[in-house]
């Protein structure tokens, strides 16, 4: 049997180079420890992103598709979504999900950390908004976040850059919200509205969700990683981790991974940090079985892979008489409304949702969506119908808070594997009754908002299936080892040199896009590790 090649040991090994892996790597460079990050994907090249080409929309249906099962790059792993109401979408590469995300960058709210105390459901987090506040601000500076200070739905905060233009779409919807007396505010966006830290500003290309050719969108390959690497972090790409290995004393001693040639390799480390998000992290933990941990590593609570939370999304699309230029500008970053974010006594559900205004589609997507919905025919009549719709559309995405349920899981598929033979994740997920009521409420209120804004025709989508961007809760944090996987600063209760810094440690999901909070958590955990270096494993 061939011997597994072994690399020089490192002090800190980070698995995953996405939103949280980049942040924790950069922060830990203060320690001058030897830090290595293993990433299964590649570095991305902005000159290859679809918006460089006239066929940018078609490329979004292939190599840059948000669904890894459709995209099928050799750096992706398959995901079995058959038993899930929502499909997981992600990206594997340096930057992770930030390569294809919309960069809508709201923080969790103070109340999101106290849902048990305030609303009697789920659990409180072991930390609160104020704990993360300085890390939110630090992350905003590192990523380059644009926004407007003064949002009454948040404690005071100061984004480093002025807001992105809200455009005709934002202004039209804002007038509708004002008519109803509802909250709205320009979105905080991880997109730079002015030149910042050597990067040129956003030029409103539109297709943020297939990579930003301009570099105006703050993905971590162009924000944290260059600084972390200059400070000495090694980032090794095309390295797919199979499992975390253990010493006899039950401490992690490194990983087994496959390199770009498919060669099995060993990497020893003093500390292992998981940063693979809410599906990738439980997948590796569950695949790291041993005599000490027969049900998967760090899983004495039995909660690894359980309590999977997405953000169920319903859509209300309005068609307007006037032209809104809706294909121009950052698609997911315009304005939002938090009118129904907090629990309301007059509603039949607890918690709430964020109404995110989404700009319109490009011409190809407009034509194909029009065909699918029967609103734009092929043949005679196409051009007239197309003219009525293209650039005349605004949408509301109701991003609903999902509550944790143990029946919603990530497990290992018994048959499906990736190209290295590692079991693929299997998603089992149902939309809860509470979420269903919230989705329905969002549709009704969205219709009201569209009517107030002057829409002449309204279309509703009650649950968007390809909406599993936000992968949360599958290795939750808490103070009690029986009811949580990691402690209040991301350290495994069971394995004291194993940390998790990604979305899997969320206790509850909030009702906003989570990347800002994921990265603030990663910075907070890194900072706590630095403060406790002398007795990190006590």
């Amino acid at each position: 049997m061939a011997q597994t090649p072994e690399n020089d040991p490192v002090d800190v090994l980070i698995i995953g180079a996405g939103a949280s892996g980049a942040a924790v790597a950069w922060s830990l460079t203060d320690t001058r420890m030897r830090i290595l990050c293993l990433e299964q994907g590649d570095w991305m090249s902005s000159s290859k992103y679809p918006s460089n080409g006239k066929n940018w929309e078609a490329q979004q249906t292939g190599a840059y598709h948000i669904n890894p099962n459709v995209r099928g790059r050799d750096t992706d792993y398959p995901i079995n979504n058959d038993a899930s109401a929502i499909d997981v979408v992600n990206f594997n590469g340096v930057g992770g999900g930030t390569i294809l995300y919309a960069a809508h960058f709201p923080r969790l709210h103070p109340s999101d950390f106290k849902v048990k105390s305030l609303d009697g459901v789920a659990d409180d987090w072991p930390i609160d908004y104020d704990t993360l506040d300085p890390y939110f601000a630090e992350n905003d500076r590192m990523m380059g976040v644009s926004g407007l200070t003064g949002d009454p739905m948040y404690p005071p905060k100061q984004p480093p850059l002025p807001p992105l233009p809200i455009g005709l779409v934002g202004e039209t919807m804002a007038k509708g919200y004002d008519k109803l007396g509802w909250h709205w505010w320009p979105s905080d966006s991880a997109i730079i509205s002015q030149p910042y830290e050597g990067r040129d500003k956003c030029i409103n290309l539109g297709p943020c969700t297939s990579g930003c050719a301009q570099g105006g969108k703050s993905s971590t390959d162009i924000t944290y990683w260059p600084q972390a690497i200059r400070s000495g972090v090694e980032l090794r790409t095309r390295c797919r981790v199979r499992e975390i290995t253990l010493k006899e004393d039950g401490m992690a001693d490194g990983v087994i991974y496959y390199d770009s040639e498919g060669q099995e390799c060993s990497q020893k480390a003093e500390v292992v940090i998981m940063a693979c998000n809410g599906v990738g992290t439980p997948r590796i933990l569950l695949n790291s079985k041993s005599a000490q941990f027969p049900d998967g590593l760090a899983n004495s609570s039995g909660l690894v892979g359980k309590n999977l939370m997405f953000h169920p999304v319903s859509i209300v699309q309005g068609l307007f008489e006037e032209r809104l230029d809706s294909h121009k500008g950052p698609m997911g970053c315009c304005i939002l409304s938090k009118e129904f974010y907090e629990t309301g006594a007059d509603r039949d559900f607890v918690r709430g949702y964020n109404m995110q205004i989404v700009r319109g589609s490009g011409p190809l997507a407009t034509a194909m969506q029009g065909h699918a919905t029967g609103t734009i025919p092929w043949g005679p009549g196409h051009h007239e119908a197309f003219r009525d719709r293209f650039d005349h559309v605004a949408s509301i995405a109701n991003v609903c808070e999902d509550l944790p349920e143990e029946c919603n899981t990530v497990t290992l598929d018994p048959e499906l594997t990736d190209s290295n033979g590692i079991p693929a994740p299997k998603i089992t997920y149902r939309v809860s009754e509470n979420s269903r009521k919230m989705l329905a409420h969002g549709l009704a209120r969205g219709r009201e908002a569209m009517e107030a804004a002057g829409a002449k025709e309204i279309v509703e989508v009650d649950l968007l299936r390809p909406a599993g961007w936000h992968l949360l809760g599958t290795a939750r944090m808490g103070n009690d080892p029986e009811t949580s996987v990691v402690n209040s600063w991301g350290r495994s209760h069971d394995v004291k040199n194993l940390f998790i810094v990604d979305g899997s440690i969320f206790v509850t999901a909030g009702g906003v896009n989570p990347t800002s909070t994921i990265q603030a958590l990663a910075l907070y955990i890194a900072d706590t590790m630095k403060k406790n270096l002398a007795n990190l494993f006590d």
Partner: protein, 145 residues
Amino acid sequence: MKNSTDIHLSSAQQQCLSALLDTILPASEDGTMPSAGEMNFLVYLDEQAKDFMPAIVLVLDQLDENFTDAPLPARVARLEDMAKADKRAFNRLLLKIYDCYYQDDRVLMQIGALPGPPFPRGNVVEPGDLSLLDAVVARGHGYRR
């Protein structure tokens, strides 16, 4: 129509393809929008969707010789039958035709978009009237702790 793919279409097949394209996207009545048959569809296939060429040949094989010269309503009816028989295949065909069409600079300018790829030209977006926020601010804070 230039025939530059590895699979060469006969003259009759090329005429049938032109008729197919003009049925899917005829020129607009006001003359501002060209028909899909005016695009270099075979060049598009050659450069961007070579794998789709056999599917095109299959489609053409399904259309009888009368299709090319049939009046527009008859051609529409024939394609509707084809769409009903295999919706997924028809949608794939539609995607390619639309993709080719909506990359054309003349078409883009006619629909109010700018020609060429989004990068590096970018787009101008109106800043929007942020004084509309005065009413929101006046209502005060709404978060819980």
